[in-house]
Symmetry: C2
Subunit: 319 residues, 2 copies
C-alpha cells in the first residue's frame, strides 16, 4: 500500500501557504501563493485554495487517493466541529460552509479552524509550547490575534468566538481600533497600530523612513526592520509603544490565567522577535503579580510561518 | 441509619459563615461569627473555624459520626487537590496545610478552595450559573475577585493561581492598587478603590457622607447605600467610576473568553446589585465586540451570602 499524506493550508487575506505532510509528520512539499481573489468572495477564495491543492498534488506527484485529509485555517470565526466559517472581519465570508465545499470538490475529509487558534495549537503540539498545559498565545502581525490552550486543550469559548486577546482594552480613552473600540491592544501593538502612530507623527511634521510605507495601509515587517536598523526615531517609538502595551496585556493575561507559558508569535515576532521579547520582558514584571509571574515562562514561537500548518495537522489528527 | 450531613464554611478576613447541609442539599442550620483572631495567624483562624464547627454540631444536635465531610474556603491561593493554603494576601498564611489540621482535629474528610472560585462554583451548580458552560465571575467587595468556569469546569490555572480578574490592568497610568500594580480593576471598583476616591475628594475639600467612614479603611456597603439614597455627589461619582471600569473589564473579558455568562456577585452586588448592573449594562456594549456580545448574558449572582457555602458543597460532592 502506498504512503498516505495530509495536505495543510494557511489561508490569509493576501496569501495561501500549503504543505504536504507524510505519515511521519514531515513536510515533504511546500507551496506559497498570493490569494489575489477579486474582493475575497467566498467562491474565489475557494478557487484559490482548490488551485493550491491541485498544484501541490501535481507538483509532488500524488493522487487524491493518497490524501488522508485536508485542513485549512481561515482568518475569522470558524466552527471547528462543522468546518463552517461563521465570520471573517477582513473577508466577506458569512456562514460559509468551507468543509462542504471542499469535501464535495475533493472527496476527502476536510477540517477548518481559526488561524491564530491553529497557530497556537501547532506550537503546543509540535513547537515552543510542547510540555506546557496552559498557554496564552499572542500573535502580532497586521492585527493582534490570540489563542488559548487551557488544561491541555484549545479553548474556543461559546460559538468558537473566544480568544480575541487583541481586543482587550488597555486604555478606554486610547486610540480607535478597527473593531470600533478604543484602546485595544491591537490599536497599539499591531502593524496597523504602529502604522497609525507613524502617520500621526508624520502629520505633526516628523519624518520617518516608514512614512512612505504607511500612506495607504500598513508597513511591511522588512520596512520596520530597516527603519530600526537606521535608528529611525519614530519607528523606535512605535515599537517601544507596541512593546509597552504588549507587556501590559501579557501582565493582565498572566493574572487572569496563571498560565505556564506566554507565547509570542506572528509575522512581526517572526521577523524581529528577540527585539520585541526583550522589551516586553523588561516591563512585564510591573504588570503582573510576582507570585503568579514566578511560574510563567515567556518565549517566542518556534515554528515560524509553519505554526498554522502544524495546527492543521493537529486538527486532522484530533490532538 | 441516621441521616448524614455536610458542614460548609465561608472564612473571610473578618467573619466566618457556617452552614449544615442535609442529604437533600438543604441548609438546615446556620452560624455567623466574627473571625477576630489576633493577627490572623494560622493557628488562631484554625481555632475560629474549629470553634464554629463545634458550635454548629452542638447547636444542631448532631455528632461528628453524622458528618460526611467539612469544606471551607480561604481568602487566597488554595491548592484544591491537597487542601493546602498556599498564600493569602490579607492573612499571614503561607503553605498552611488546612486539610491536615482539620482532618487531624475532626477525623472527617476536609476540602478547601479559594473563596471567589468557590462562590462562582456554587452559583454554577446551584445558583444563577446553572445551565451555562463558560462563566466569567466578578465578585465585588473589599477587593474584586474573579472565578472562571470554562468548558463546564472551574478553571484554576497553573498552581491554582488563576482567575485574578481584579488585577487586570485597565489603565497602566491609573491609581496604585494594593497589589503594587497601577490601574487594576480592583483599584477602581472595589470598596477599597471607591474609598480611596472618597478620601481623594475629601483632600480636595469635597465633603461626602462617606468621608467619616473611610478615614481608617473602607466604608461598609450600608454606608454607601445610605449616601446614594441621599444623592451624595462624591458617592455617586465613586459608583459611576466603579461601574465604568467594571464595564471596561467585563468587555475585555467577553472578548477574551466569549463566555455565555458574565456573573456579578460579592458584598457590593448583594447590597445594591441592580444599581450597579444597570450602569454596567449601559456602558458594556462599547467595550466588547458586537458579534461576541450578542451571545453573552450578564446577570447578578442568585445565592447572595450563601454562594461560597454552596461552592463548598460542590467541592465535597466532586461536581
Amino acid at each position: 500500500m502506498s504512503e498516505r499524506y495530509n495536505i495543510c493550508l494557511d489561508v490569509g487575506g493576501t496569501k495561501v501557504l500549503g504543505a504536504i505532510f507524510n505519515e511521519n509528520r514531515e513536510i515533504v512539499y511546500r507551496l506559497k501563493k498570493r490569494s489575489k481573489s477579486k474582493g475575497g468572495e467566498a467562491a474565489n477564495v475557494e478557487e484559490v485554495i482548490a488551485g493550491v491543492v491541485e498544484e501541490m498534488l501535481d507538483g509532488f506527484g500524488i493522487s487524491l487517493e493518497q490524501v488522508n485529509a485536508i485542513a485549512s485555517c481561515a482568518p475569522g470565526v470558524v466552527d471547528q466541529e462543522t468546518g463552517v466559517v461563521l465570520f471573517t472581519p477582513n473577508l466577506p465570508w458569512r456562514n460559509y460552509d468551507l468543509r462542504a465545499a471542499m469535501e464535495k470538490r475533493f472527496g476527502v475529509p476536510f477540517y477548518a479552524g481559526n488561524d491564530v487558534n491553529l497557530g497556537v495549537l501547532g506550537e503546543y503540539h509540535f513547537g515552543a509550547g510542547r510540555g506546557y498545559r496552559n498557554i496564552v498565545g499572542l500573535f502580532v502581525g497586521t492585527g493582534v490575534g490570540g489563542g488559548l490552550i487551557l488544561n491541555g486543550s484549545l479553548y474556543t469559548g461559546h460559538q468558537f468566538k473566544g480568544g480575541e486577546l487583541g481586543h482587550m482594552i488597555l486604555d478606554p480613552g486610547g486610540p480607535l481600533c478597527n473593531c470600533g473600540q478604543s484602546g485595544c491592544l491591537e490599536a497599539y501593538a499591531s502593524k496597523q497600530g504602529m502604522s497609525a502612530y507613524v502617520r500621526q507623527q508624520a502629520a505633526r511634521g516628523r519624518e520617518s523612513l516608514l512614512t512612505e510605507h504607511v500612506q495607504e495601509g500598513v508597513f511591511r515587517s522588512k520596512h520596520l526592520k530597516k527603519a530600526l536598523a537606521a535608528d529611525d526615531a519614530v519607528a523606535m517609538e512605535a515599537v517601544d509603544r507596541a512593546c509597552h502595551y504588549l507587556a501590559v496585556a501579557a501582565g493582565s493575561l498572566i493574572n487572569i490565567f496563571s498560565p505556564d507559558l506566554v507565547l509570542f508569535g506572528g509575522g512581526i515576532i517572526e521577523s524581529m522577535g528577540d527585539r520585541f521579547l526583550g522589551k516586553i520582558l523588561a516591563e512585564l514584571d510591573a504588570y503582573c503579580m510576582p507570585a503568579i509571574r514566578s511560574s510563567v515562562e515567556v518565549k517566542n514561537a518556534a515554528l515560524g510561518d509553519d505554526s498554522v500548518l502544524y495546527g492543521d495537522l493537529a486538527l486532522i489528527e484530533g490532538l
